[in-house]
């Protein structure tokens, strides 16, 4: 089988985070500080990734600002010619920190937002983060860096969609990802409390089109579909081991940020193995490459080249078999699992219920 080269590295520097968002896609078992990779190992990961063909690095977490070596890693990534994106909650992003990050060479900063109103945003985050974010956005813009924003959409904040877009325009963002929640890790634990009901989603979609008309010339709005309400699954990661890789805080190398929850696979660690070997030759990266692994209904499906059978993590988490068709698919024998979940959400359900807060 020909193995493609990866374009992007997601570097999860830490699982530590001041926020406790109930939709976090980090695994339930969060890595502790003691098991995080050293600066030297991260520097080596960046060098190996660049050699392997990676052109873009996304520093994320948890909250990557909690690593005091972040600037050092950014500097090295830039020396290697990589495009450097930082994904942050904004907590700790003071004017001084933005200046240091900018000097180190960060190319773009993606700031998360939980809701348009401070009260709701802080309830969802389980932390008073809104004011940090407002100030962080100002510091980013004043430094001349491009500001990108993202918000995870779910039952409690979908109704604020237009206000969220307005707020991001006011804060000077040039791009806003409106990402409907995907159910992995903590989000899956909270799925019954996060999943929107159908009419609510339809209203939100209409609001998205209105916002596109109102603000389309000032901000790029990106709508990431709620896959539980789709007929066909998403082409997860653009294919397993095809275009990107993730290094988890403890050094395990994953084809997707959620993959550590696939218990039927074991993942190699950069502390033991070369990154190039892991990408090309490890059993985990080859497990779902290409099509040979597919079972029916995917094996003979004409959509298999479009969506690769959907998401392996979702297949495993919902059916126990990572080779199964993503249950989101109408052709999956497990589609009932999705329909049951979606069908059990009622408009009368509490909007901000008691979440299982991440890391608590």
């Amino acid at each position: 089988m020909t193995v493609d080269l990866p374009y992007a590295l997601t570097a999860e520097l830490t699982h530590r985070c001041p926020l406790h968002c109930p939709y976090c896609s980090n695994p339930i078992e969060l890595q502790k500080r003691e098991s995080e990779l050293s600066t030297e190992t991260w520097l080596s990961v960046l060098e190996q990734a660049s050699e392997l063909g990676v052109a873009q690095v996304h520093f994320t977490g948890g909250e990557p600002l909690l690593r005091s070596d972040l600037e050092q890693l950014i500097r090295r990534a830039r020396e290697l010619g990589l495009f450097v994106n930082l994904i942050t909650s904004g907590v700790g992003l003071t004017e001084e920190r933005v200046r240091r990050l900018s000097e180190a060479g960060v190319d773009s900063i993606q700031l998360s937002l939980q809701a348009a109103s401070p009260e709701l945003a802080d309830t969802i985050a389980g932390f008073d983060a809104y004011e940090w974010k407002r100030q962080a956005a100002r510091h980013i813009r004043q430094s001349g860096l491009a500001l990108n924003m993202n918000v995870v959409l779910h039952r409690a904040n979908l109704h604020q969609l237009e206000d969220i877009a307005q707020l991001c325009v006011d804060w000077g963002a040039q791009r806003l990802e409106l990402a409907n929640a995907q159910y992995y890790g903590w989000a899956l634990r909270n799925v019954d409390r996060l999943l929107p009901f159908k009419e609510q989603l339809q209203e939100a979609e209409a609001a998205y089109y209105r916002a596109s008309e109102r603000f389309g010339n000032r901000i790029e709005l990106i709508w990431i579909v709620p896959d539980y309400y789709e007929d066909f699954p998403k082409p997860c990661m653009g294919g397993w081991g095809k275009i990107s890789l993730t290094v988890a805080p403890d050094g395990r190398v994953l084809p997707c940020t959620a993959a550590s929850e696939i218990r039927s696979l074991s993942f190699e660690n950069v502390q033991q193995r070369a990154l190039a070997w892991i990408w090309r030759d490890s059993p985990s990266f080859n497990a779902y490459r290409g099509e040979a692994w597919m079972a029916e209904p995917c094996r003979s499906c004409e959509r298999r080249e479009l969506d690769y059978g959907g998401c392996r993590c979702q297949a495993f988490l919902l059916t126990g078999d990572a080779r199964a068709a993503d249950p989101v698919c109408v052709r999956s024998p497990h589609r009932g699992l999705i329909l049951e979940r979606v069908g059990s959400v009622l408009p009368s359900d509490e909007v901000t219920p008691k979440y299982a807060y991440r890391g608590r």
């Binding site: 080269l5 063909g53 052109a55 873009q56 010619g81 495009f83 994106n85």
Partner: protein, 90 residues
């Protein structure tokens, strides 16, 4: 080919950047959220789009580098397409 086009001084749109990728032996255009694999000609043109050189100078330089003439129309057209895609700003 218009005189206006020839005197323009295109540069890569910020924060876009080029990277020569040793693994693929090709120039990559790095954009936020996106990587574009360039063919040799596109890579060679974009390398010279530094906001200093005019398109006229870029044509001259590439014609002399490749020992060819008559590249002007293709280079002007490529720069127009690259501007439409948001890769270049004038």
């Amino acid at each position: 080919m218009s005189q206006r086009a020839l005197s323009e001084r295109p540069r890569l749109s910020s924060p876009g950047r080029l990277k020569y990728d040793k693994a693929r032996h090709t120039e990559l255009l790095l954009l936020p959220e996106r990587v574009v694999e360039l063919n040799e000609a596109a890579g060679a043109i974009l390398r010279l789009c530094d906001g200093q050189r005019t398109i006229g100078q870029i044509i001259e330089e590439l014609e002399s580098k490749y020992g060819q003439t008559g590249l002007g129309d293709d280079i002007v057209e490529f720069c127009a397409i690259a501007s439409d895609k948001g890769w270049l700003e004038v």
